[in-house]
C-alpha cells in the first residue's frame, strides 16, 4: 500500500504518543520465567527484537476463558445480561507491536474461523479494535519452519503495518522499512502521525524486495530447511489409514499444550457455570488432543486414542483447513514442538508425507 524508511527513534516516539493516548499496547515481553505479549505503560518497557514469545497473542482476541452469556434464573423466567452484545466501541483500541511474522499470520486463520457466518461477536469486537504491527524476525528458534508454510521472516501476512530493520550503514541510528499493509494501518498513521524521514525519499518496489530478500537470506539458515507444506495435502489425507500414525501418536500424552501454545488453534468448549449469583456460559480453549473432546454421551468415541487425536491435529492443520482456505492452519512457529513433553516434532511428522 505505502512504504517508507523511518529511523528507529521516530518509531519509538510515535509509539510513545500512542501510549499516551489511551491505546493499549502489547509487546513481546519476558515475565518471570516465561514470555508472552504483555501490556506496557511506557516506551521504556519495550525491548525490540526479542525471541518470539512462548505464548502467541491469540489470547488477546480469543481469551482462554470468556463469558459469552450471563443470566440469572427466576421463577419460570430467565434474565440475560444484554451487555453481551456486539459493540465495537466498547472495546479499547489495542496495538500489538513487534510481533514476529508467524504470529501476525495467525490472524488470517483466526479470522477465517471467527469472522465467517455466524460471526463470533466477541472475537469481532476485539479484532475491529486491534492493530497489528509486525516486526521482521531476527531471532528465529531451532524449531521454526515458517518458510515451509508459505511465510518468511519478512512476511507481512496478517499485519496492518510491518517493520523490517535495515542493515545499518552509518552511525546515525537504526532505520526501518515501514510498510503500511491495510487501511487499518493507514488509520493508525493518519491519526497518530509518524514522523517520516526528512528526505521522505520514494522507495521503489524493487528496493523493498531487495531489503526483504537480504533480511530473509540472513536468517533462513537458522531455521529448519524449507519444504513445501502448503502443497500435496492430498498425499496426507490419502495416508489417513497409514500405520505411521500409530508410531507417531502412541507417545502423545494428550496434555493439550500444543493447542494452547498454538497461535492458530481455535477449538473451544462451551460450559455453563455459576459464579457469585450469576450463571455464565464460558467459551474456553479446548484441544482435539483431549480424550473427552469427541466423547459422545453414549460412551462412543470416534477418536478413541491419542493416535487418532494426533492425526486429527495434523490433518486439520495441513489438509482440511488448507483445502477450504488455501493456507495451512499452521504458521510454522514451532511452539508445539518446543513445548511438547515428548518432543513430538510437527515438522518431522508433516515431512513424512510430502
Amino acid at each position: 500500500m505505502k512504504a517508507f524508511i523511518v529511523e528507529e527513534k521516530n518509531i519509538l516516539n510515535w509509539l510513545s504518543k500512542l501510549l499516551q493516548s489511551n491505546i493499549k499496547v502489547y509487546v513481546p515481553k519476558n515475565v518471570e520465567d516465561y514470555s508472552s505479549y504483555e501490556q506496557i505503560e511506557q516506551i521504556e518497557d519495550l525491548v525490540l527484537h526479542q525471541k518470539r514469545p512462548e505464548f502467541s497473542f491469540k489470547n488477546i482476541l480469543f481469551p482462554q476463558t470468556e463469558s459469552v452469556l450471563e443470566y440469572t434464573i427466576e421463577k419460570n423466567w430467565v434474565k440475560t445480561n444484554p451487555d453481551l452484545n456486539y459493540n465495537s466501541t466498547s472495546e479499547e483500541k489495542t496495538i500489538i507491536f513487534g510481533a514476529p511474522p508467524c504470529d501476525c499470520a495467525s490472524i488470517i486463520a483466526l479470522n477465517h474461523v471467527f469472522l465467517s457466518e455466524p460471526i463470533d461477536i466477541f472475537y469481532k469486537s476485539k479484532f475491529d479494535n486491534v492493530y497489528i504491527i509486525g516486526l521482521a524476525c531476527t531471532n528465529p528458534e531451532p524449531e521454526c519452519f515458517c518458510t515451509s508454510v508459505g511465510s518468511s521472516m519478512t512476511s507481512t501476512k496478517g499485519s496492518d503495518i510491518f517493520l523490517t530493520p535495515l542493515s545499518s550503514k552509518s552511525n546515525s541510528g537504526k532505520e526501518y522499512l515501514v510498510e503500511v499493509i491495510t487501511t487499518k494501518g493507514m488509520e493508525l498513521l493518519k491519526d497518530y502521525e509518524l514522523q517520516v524521514q526528512k528526505s521522505n525519499k520514494k522507495i521503489t518496489k524493487n528496493a523493498i524486495e531487495e531489503i526483504k530478500r537480504k533480511h530473509d537470506s540472513k536468517y533462513e539458515s537458522q531455521i529448519l530447511p524449507k519444504k513445501d507444506f502448503t502443497q500435496n495435502n492430498q498425499t496426507l489425507s490419502e495416508n489417513f489409514y497409514s500405520k505411521d500414525w500409530e508410531e507417531i501418536g502412541i507417545t502423545c500424552f494428550g496434555c493439550g499444550v500444543c493447542a494452547y501454545v498454538c497461535p492458530t488453534c481455535t477449538c473451544y468448549d462451551l460450559v455453563d457455570e455459576y459464579e457469585s449469583g450469576c450463571f455464565r456460559r464460558c467459551k474456553n480453549w479446548d484441544s482435539c488432543g483431549f480424550a473427552n473432546f469427541t466423547l459422545h454421551a453414549s460412551g462412543h468415541n470416534p477418536r478413541p486414542t491419542q493416535i487418532e487425536r494426533y492425526r486429527q491435529r495434523i490433518l486439520h492443520k495441513f489438509t482440511y483447513f488448507t483445502e477450504q482456505v488455501g493456507m495451512t492452519m499452521c504458521v510454522g512457529c514451532g511452539r508445539c514442538t518446543k513445548f511438547c513433553p515428548v518432543h513430538k516434532d510437527i515438522y518431522e511428522v508433516r515431512s513424512r508425507w510430502i
Binding site: 434464573i73 489425507s237 481455535t266 468448549d269 462451551l270 460450559v271 455453563d272 455459576y274 469427541t294
Partner: protein, 276 residues
Amino acid sequence: MDLKNPYAPELYSVIDLKDETSDVRTLRLKPLNDSSFQWHAGQFAQFTVFGTGECPFTIANSPTRSEYLECSFKLMGKVTTALREVEIGNVIGVRGPYGNWFDTDSWKGRDLYFVGGGIGMAALRSPLQYVLDNRNDYGEILILNGARTVSDLVYVNEMKEWENIPGVKLIRTVDPGGETMDWDGEIGLVPNLFEKLSPKANGSIVITCGPPIMIHYMLITLDKLGFKKSNIVTTLENKMKCGFGKCGRCNVGPIYVCKEGPVFTAEQLEKLPKEF
C-alpha cells in the same frame, strides 16, 4: 452494526411433555417472544437447561407443524438428566436451527423407506411428518421401526395414526428377547428384516437413522439389494458445542457435522474418514 450473539438462546416455554419410553421424553415448546424460527426437516437446535448447559437435538416435528417446536431426548448425561426435571410451564433455551436438511423436494414422486432404530426415530419424525403432510407428492411409504425391546419403541401412538394413512405401511420389530407375550410385531434385527421385505431399489429413497451398528449393517444390506448410494440418506451425530462450525469437535475430514451435516447420503459418507 446489528449482530446477534450466536451463543445466546431464545427463551421457550415447555407447553407439553410426553414420555415415549422409560428414558425417552418428547418436549413441546413455544417461544416466549416472537422469536420462533423457520426450519427444515432434518435440522437440529441447541437446547439449554439454564444453570446446567446445552445439548443438541434434532427438531422432531415437521416445519409444516410450526406452531410449536418438539424435541425427543434420551436420558444420557448431565444436561438430559437436568432436562428430565423440567416441567410444563418451565423455561428452557433454544438456539438454531443448525445444519443442513433432508432434500424432500428430490424425493417427490418416489417411494420412501423410513428405517429407524431406537432414538434414531426422532431424526426421522420430522421428514416423516413432512411427507405425510404433503402426502400426494410422494409414492408409497414404508416405515420400519426397530428397538431393543417393546418398551423401547418410541412414538407408539403416532405410529398407529400414520399406519392408517393410505399408502403407508408400518413394520415394527424388536431384537430377539425383547418381545413381550402380547407383542404382535416382528422379532429380528432391522437390516435383516429390511432385506426380507425385498424392497425395490430402483428410484426409491431410504432414510435411515439409528445406532452406529445398525447403520453399518443397513448400508451393507442396502448395497446388496442394489440401492444407489445417492438414494440412501442418513444423519450423523458427533459431539457438538457451538452448532455452527467453529468449536471444532464435530469435525470429520473436511466437513463439520453441525454445518455440512447432519444429513448425509451414503455416497457422501463413503468419502469421509471413519471418525463418527
